[in-house]
């Protein structure tokens, strides 16, 4: 007797389940059809870092090329070196050529996105807040070399596109 009862209860549980499935079958879709639609929360995504431009000169970064971000990075994926001004012959003294001057702006600023783990420690450590997260979600490339991003070039391009 109990086994029949159990079997009936079991069958009923299946009917209930089917009912729920049926209800959701008629409910509106919740999926985002990607190439035709976009997800709504891309602006909160923190992708690879990018440079922040100066207020008056959007194409030039605030960066002072101190290299703290490169040292702090757990995976050593940032390469930054200061721009070097060519020696000024007018400054030469006693016949000695003047030394090239190390400027407080980066000449090279590259990010190897292959290695980056998006931890954000470079952003936090930057003394002049010259780094921020981009929300570049659609980052797809064909070769590994392309993931080595030139952030200076990216900033210039953004500055041009912005105007």
């Amino acid at each position: 007797m109990t086994s029949i009862k159990n079997a009936l209860a079991g069958l009923w549980s299946l009917v209930v389940g089917m009912g729920i499935t049926g209800k959701y079958f008629t409910a509106p879709l919740v999926t985002v059809f990607y190439p035709r639609q976009e997800a709504e929360n891309i602006e909160t995504y923190r992708g690879h870092v990018e440079l922040v431009g100066k207020e008056d000169e959007a194409g030039v970064p605030l960066c002072i090329a101190c290299g703290q971000c490169a040292r702090q990075c757990p995976s050593q994926c940032i390469t930054v070196s200061a721009k070097v001004a060519p020696a000024d012959p007018a400054e030469s003294k006693d016949g000695k050529p003047a030394k090239p001057k190390r400027l407080k702006t980066p000449g090279v600023f590259q990010l190897d996105y292959n290695l980056c783990s998006l931890c954000g420690q470079c952003v936090q450590v930057c003394p002049v807040d010259s780094l921020r997260y981009s929300n570049n979600v659609y980052f797809a490339v064909f070769t590994r070399q392309e993931t080595n991003i030139d952030l200076l070039e990216r900033l210039e391009r953004q500055a041009k596109e912005g105007k």
């Binding site: 299946l14 729920i20 499935t21 929360n41 998006l118």
Partner: protein, 386 residues
């Protein structure tokens, strides 16, 4: 599944060779994994079968071993932070917390109250995410396809919410020594409240759709019964030991952060079978919702980052800090020699201990039930292999 006849002539590896030494006559040795869907990643289990019954089983680990403990000795304290999101990708914030908490305990760093509340909030949201993935994947193992889609739909809401503060969706690197990375905003709180209301209804639906389902009960009840003694001997924690009737939860046993102020229960079931572990996790999600509500009501204003030295050099000594993750007790044993690099970081993964009892649990069961047992232990292989 790769089948191998009695391993005398085939080019098997070290583990199958050593396993086959103890084999009985007329049994079949079978490799489950490392690329078997029911092992949730790259776990390999060698089983000796007598018909469809398991005589012996031996898990073989290490297929995704990354030597996080060695990395800890090479990087500075802050540089090691992103590693923590990758140990257990399903409950990353708990691992964040275990490591950050250990360093804070050793260095004596104070955490502002608001940061503590945010930590609890994100950790509980992440716990629900983790349980949802487990729920979907477990039922997938048992042959039910649709539940994982419902689970992922709900999880998607939570990931969107977490993305607002952490910036990422899976491998969070959100906790910092003395606080958290970013503050929560009103939209975050509103979204979470909406989710809680929605999810309470969904949990009822889950129960009607799956938990009461006749077929599921047949696959879970009286399968893989784990006694309290065995669970303790193997060092099982989390939902596994709570499914055996022991109300052991680090959040209550050794309270940390603001958990002592919060009102929640520790769900326990005494049956010790796969169904009990299933029920514990479902009830835990309800409790997590309760915690989240209380945290949002009480969250004070203030800083989210305490004072921390720029180059962190904890004093010489050692410390052990444990938190409750979705799979159990996560422990970090940290030794400092006074420099900027940890001297030794030992990570205690709950899944490691939980899985170690599988060999005993699966003895004499059907191979199909072994899949159910494996699933009910809630394995995350990267965490086990570390």
């Amino acid at each position: 599944m790769t089948m191998s006849p009695q391993l005398s002539s085939d080019p098997s590896d070290f583990y199958s060779q050593s396993f086959s030494k103890g084999a009985r006559e007329n049994t079949l040795i079978l490799n489950m994994g490392p690329q078997h869907p029911s092992t949730h990643g790259v776990l390999r289990v060698i089983v000796e079968l007598d018909g469809e019954y398991i005589v012996r089983a031996e898990p073989v680990l290490g297929y995704i071993h990354r030597m996080h403990e060695f990395m800890g000795q090479k990087k500075t304290y802050t540089q090691y932070l992103p590693n923590m999101g990758r140990v257990d990708y399903l409950h990353a914030t708990a691992w964040n917390w275990a490591y950050v908490g250990a360093v804070e305990q050793l260095a004596g760093i104070e955490v502002p109250e608001r940061a503590e509340y945010i930590r609890v909030l994100t950790c509980e949201i992440n716990r629900i995410c983790s349980h949802l993935v487990w729920w979907g994947a477990y039922l997938l193992d048992l042959g039910a396809f649709t539940p994982i889609l419902y689970a992922f739909e709900d999880r998607e809401f939570l990931l969107d919410i977490l993305q607002r503060v952490t910036g990422s969706r899976l491998t969070y690197c959100y906790f910092r020594f003395g606080g958290v990375y970013a503050d929560v905003d009103d939209k975050f709180i509103d979204d979470t409240r909406t989710f809680i209301q929605r999810f309470r209804k969904r949990l009822k639906m889950y129960e009607a759709l799956v938990t009461k389902n006749f077929i599921l009960r047949k696959r879970c009840e009286d399968i893989g019964v784990l006694s309290v003694q065995t669970a303790r001997k193997y060092g099982c924690t989390g939902p596994v030991i709570r499914g055996s009737g022991v109300p052991y939860d680090v959040r209550r046993a050794v309270p940390y952060s603001v958990y002592p102020e919060l009102d929640f229960e520790i769900p326990t079931f005494s049956e010790g079978d796969a169904m009990a572990r299933y029920m514990v996790r479902l009830k835990e999600m309800e409790q997590s919702l309760r915690i989240m509500e209380q945290v949002m009501d009480r969250m004070p204003d203030g800083d989210i980052q305490g004072k921390t030295p720029k180059t962190l050099k904890p004093p010489k000594g050692e410390t052990y800090f444990a938190v409750e993750g979705a799979r159990g007790k996560i422990g970090v044993h940290l030794v400092s020699d006074g420099s900027a690099t940890p001297y030794r970081v030992k990570l205690r993964a709950p899944g490691y201990s939980n899985l170690s009892c599988f060999a005993e649990l699966s003895k004499g069961t059907l191979i199909a039930d072994a899949v159910s047992i494996l699933g009910s232990l809630d394995l995350v292989i990267p965490e086990i292999d570390r």
